[in-house]
Every structure is written in structure tokens, then in C-alpha cells.
């Protein structure tokens, strides 16, 4: 049985097809990421699971039970909202205990459970404060505790790390991942950050224009993008047109070549000119021109990076060139 199952699910807003005939299967205990640019339908899919939206067509199952027509408060699914949506008029402990309170759990019991949930997210003793007195990262932990205290079957996270700074975001990524492993709850995670999706998820679905373009493990999606969109969106690969590819000595098909798969060589290889360089810390990214096409090349730190305008030669292993099925 699947934790979540979409069969040809659509959600239209007037003429706009926010979600268009999506098929989806999420296994119990899985960390599943929905990745896509804004407006691609990933958040609407999450809201369909939570019950805030009802599908225009299709069928949704949560742990084998029909979900369409069931209001959010009758679904054993909880959401961590993008801006946390903590109740400003309640203190932290009452915020976390809210789900148990509305279900009629006694005061002593629910406050104890809330305190435990706060310990789980490393915020013990913060119960008496108000949401306004916490930092963004702390509020985010409270939002997670408030959802987890209900012991949901599925935890939905809507871009939960979007508002945090880089350092905190990386730390929370690790913590979320270990939390998910420890609890064994199915996590469905919406993000537009491909790095986040690849590093945290067991499986990733890439969304574009209301449809899933590709589903698979992070490794799969990164190494074998199905379409130009996936290749470009996930890891900003070099998407090479058929003509260019054949002039570079490959097949006359659309191909994807990762910037880090391209090496700088001496003597042999494809001639290219460096048009721009940007220093990224761990690497330097070159924008080079060859045979009328622009390519990105990353040079790891420690290797000498050529200056702008330099004539260089490039080489790559034929196995690193990934040809794509369709041109879309």
C-alpha cells in the first residue's frame, strides 16, 4: 500500500491547469521531494494531500483510503507551512499542543506531549514564549514540533527552509533528514531548490507546468535527466542542441553534459574561448564558447583557472554525455 497515491489528479483554477493529470505514488516511510520552479504545481499537489484543495478530476488515496471530499481536519496528515503559520495569540507550548487540544486530550497530557515535541526539535524550555519572540529558525522548529505532536501518517513540508539563511538551512536539512529516519514518518517535501531536494530526498518528482516531468532517485534525476527542462533545472547542466552535439563529435541528438564532467586539457580536445568566470569558493565556473555554443565548465579549487579571453581546450568522457529521449 502507498502512503499517498495520485491517479490522474487534476486541479484547475478557471483556465489555469495548476495540476494536470498527475500520477504519483509515495511509499510509506519515504522522504519524497516535489521539485520545480514556482507555479509548476508542486505546492498545489501538497495542498491536495493536505485537503486545502479538492481535485477537479482524478483520485487521491492516503494509506489506501479515498481522500477527495475529506476535509483537512479529518486527515491524519499534518503540514509545516512555508511561513510557519504559528498562532500569534498563543504561546509556544499552546501552539504545539493545539492539535491535541482540539482533539480533546487533557491539559496535563497534551502539555507534556508538547514539551516532549519541543525537546525533539531542540527547543526545550521555550514553551512560555510567544511566536514573535523567536527567530525564524526557532519558529520553524516549533512548526515542525506542532505538526509532529499529532503523530501524522504523512508530514507535508511546504518550502520549510526557504526563509532561513544558508548556514541554518544546511543544518536544518541534516536535522530533518535524521528526524525522518528516526520517526519513520512519510515526509513529502516541496522545494524549488534542487540541491535541497537531491541531498535530502529518497525520491524526487520534478514538476513543470502542472505535470511531473520525471520521477526517480536523486542520482537518477541528476545523471539521467529525461528532458531538457530537467537537465537544465536540476544542477544547471549544459543542454546541447543536436547540431552542436554532432559538431562536437557526438550523436545528432539533444544531450546533457554536467559542467563538472568537462576537463581542461593540453593539446588535444575541443578548442574553446573563456567568455566569463565566476568564483564559487569550492570551484570556479567558466562560461566558454565553442563551435558557436555556450558551455559551463567547473574547475575545482586548487586547479589553475584560466582568465577571461583565454583560449583553452576541453575534453570529456563519452559516457558523461547523456542523450535525452525527447526535445521538450
Amino acid at each position: 500500500m502507498n502512503a499517498v497515491r495520485f491517479q490522474q489528479v487534476s486541479r484547475h483554477f478557471g483556465q489555469i491547469r495548476a495540476v494536470d493529470r498527475v500520477d504519483l505514488e509515495i511509499a510509506p516511510g519515504e522522504f519524497f521531494a516535489m521539485l520545480g520552479p514556482s507555479g509548476s504545481g508542486k505546492t498545489t499537489c501538497l495542498r491536495l494531500i493536505a485537503g486545502f484543495e479538492q481535485p477537479t478530476g482524478g483520485h487521491i488515496e492516503i494509506f489506501g483510503e479515498t481522500a477527495e471530499g475529506v476535509p483537512p481536519y479529518r486527515r491524519n496528515v499534518n503540514t509545516v507551512f512555508q511561513d510557519y503559520a504559528l498562532f500569534p495569540h498563543l504561546n509556544i507550548l499552546d501552539n504545539v499542543a493545539y492539535g491535541l487540544m482540539v482533539k480533546g486530550v487533557g491539559k496535563a497530557e497534551r502539555l507534556k506531549a508538547a514539551e516532549q515535541a519541543l525537546e525533539l526539535v531542540k527547543l526545550p524550555g521555550y514553551g512560555a514564549r510567544r511566536p514573535g519572540q523567536l527567530s525564524g529558525g526557532q519558529r520553524q522548529r516549533v512548526a515542525i514540533a506542532r505538526a509532529l505532536v499529532n503523530k501524522p501518517k504523512v508530514l507535508l513540508l511546504d518550502e520549510p527552509l526557504g526563509a532561513l539563511d544558508l548556514k541554518l538551512r544546511e543544518q536544518m536539512q541534516e536535522e530533518l533528514k535524521s528526524l525522518q529516519r528516526a520517526l519513520g514518518i512519510t515526509f513529502v517535501f516541496v522545494t524549488h531548490d534542487q540541491g535541497e531536494a537531491l541531498s535530502m530526498a529518497d525520491r524526487v518528482a520534478v514538476f513543470n507546468d502542472g505535470r511531473i516531468v520525471q520521477q526517480g532517485t536523486p542520482h537518477d534525476i541528476y545523471q539521467r535527466p529525461k528532458t531538457r527542462f530537467v537537465a537544465d533545472f536540476v544542477g544547471s547542466s549544459n543542454v546541447i542542441a543536436p547540431d552542436t552535439m554532432s559538431s562536437l563529435g557526438g550523436e545528432r541528438r539533444w544531450a546533457s553534459l554536467r559542467p563538472e564532467a568537462i576537463r581542461l586539457t593540453e593539446g588535444s580536445g575541443v578548442a574553446a574561448t573563456v567568455k566569463a568566470t565566476s568564483f564559487l569558493g569550492a570551484a570556479t565556473r567558466l562560461s566558454v564558447e565553442t563551435n558557436g555554443a555556450r558551455l559551463h565548465v567547473t574547475v575545482p579549487a586548487g586547479q589553475p583557472a584560466p582568465d577571461t579571453g583565454a583560449a583553452i581546450r576541453l575534453a570529456w568522457l563519452p559516457a558523461d554525455v547523456h542523450y535525452m529521449d525527447d526535445a521538450a
Partner: protein
Amino acid sequence: MNTAAFPASSSQAPASILPRRSGFFGRLSDLFWRRPKLFLFLMLTPPLLWLGIIYIGSLIALLLQSFFSVDDFSGMVNYEFTLSTYAQLLNSANFDIILRTVVMAALVTIASAFVAFPIAYYAARYAQGKWKALFYLGVMLPLWSSYLVKVYAWKLILAKEGILTWLFAKLHLGWLLDGVLALPVIGGNSLSVSYIGTFLVFVYIWLPYMILPTQAALERVPANLLEASSDLGATPKQTFRTVLLPLALPGVVAGSIFTFSLTLGDYIIPQIIGSSRLFIGQAVYTQQGTAGNVPLAAAFSVVPIVIMAIYLWIAKKQGAFDAL
């Protein structure tokens, strides 16, 4: 400053500090920018003088009057400190006036809150574009027409020969209206001479003052808090009670301050529509006018102030302003 300060040729680089705008106002803007407190002082002095001397000052003068008394023989005001005027408020006739007014104000406030909330909720959560404009127009339009005209219009509507009696008769519900009018205290010969009539007109007249702050408060409640509540398992009723109402309460309280205090002080509506028994506003009017007892009028006008102070204190105690 003259125009020569501008670069004559395009090849010349622009100055890093631009010349001051010429004239008195140019200097003034620069001065205000350098001394923001001076600007604030000049801006606030006239309204504060107005508020402080004319408004608060006259209010204090009025309150002082309430501590004087009227000589029973001469009818002259005796300028000696006494609490006897306040003692007069507690004799049964005067106390009835206070009680009647407070009960009416409370009922009008509660009814306004109940009528206003769904309207405000619709406007805040659902109405968009031209429907929102229509809402504002609908709520504000009655405020644009004369208060007296509206009250007299209601007198006609509520009169025995009025449209309401006619409507009830047409619907074969005349017995219902008669039954209501036969009720003791709140009933009467017709709606226009009963407490029910006074109540209806009060609710009508003050309703916009309840709708607008309630709507403003509801508008500030983020939609995702309601979603979060539902997500955490709260039924719509629980979400209303534990999230929406506490967050909208400051608006409802603000509205109730309007409806409550406006009803406490009004002397026209109960005079035109009602059972000719006095309300506080009418008592103030007659005491300072025909009766010439300014101290008692002043003491009467202190009553709404004290009641409002108590009301706000209770509201604060109950946490009505916690979500602000």
C-alpha cells in the same frame, strides 16, 4: 543658488553634492531634514493645543461642575465641593435612567456584533474587486445621509400605519407583531413607541461602526492560520472559537466601543422613537437646559465615561487586546 551650478557641457562630470533648492522652502526642507524633532514639534503643536485646551480642557471644566451643587431655593449653582450631586444619581428615578441606558447600550452592542460579524467576514475573506467596493459603498452609504432623516424614516417604517405593520398583515403574521407588542416593558402601542423600536433604530444607525473595525481585524488574520488550525484537526467551529474569534476580537471590541458609547450618549433616537422614558443623553439635555441643573447634567455625563473605563478595563483583563 543659480543655474550656473549645473554643468555647462555634457563632458563635465555631475557634482557629487547637488546645489540646494533655491528659496525659503528649500532651506526649510534642509533644516527639517537635519532636525526631525523640530519638524515633529511644529507639526504636533497646533493639534495638541486644540486637543489639550479646547477639548480636554472643556471636558475637565464639565467634570468640575459635577462636584458643585444647585441651591434648591435660588436655583443658583453653589461653587463648593460636594458629592451630593453624585448622590442624586443614585435616587431611584435617576438610577433607572442609567440602568435603562446601559442595558440598551449593551443589547445594541451585542446585536450589532452578531449582525456585523458575518457581513464583515464575507467582506474580509471572500469579497474581491467590485464586490468589495460594493460592500464599502453599502456599509458607508447610510453614513452619508442625515442622521435625523434616517431616524424619522424609521419612525414612519415602525409606525402603526407603517410599512412593517402592513407587511406583517400581508404575510398573515399580524398576530405575531401584536404578540410581540403585547409583551410587558419592551412592548407598546406600536413599534415606534416601544423599546423594541428604539433598539432596532440604534442597531441600524450604529451598525457601520461595528462592521468596519471588525472587517479590518478579520482582514488582518492570515488565511494560513485558519488552514493550519484545520490541518491540526480543528473542526470549523473549533477554528472559529480558538483562532478566528480571538484574533478578530480587538476589532469587535473596537466596534463595540463605538456602538456602546454612541448609544450611551445619544439623546435623539430615544426622543423620537421609543416610550418617552429618559435615557442618559436626554437626562443631560433636560438637566442643563430646561431644569438648569448643570451640576447634575455634568454628573450624568460622567456616567458613560466611567462605564466605558470599566468596560475597557474588563476587555483588557479578558485579553481582548493580546493579539494586537
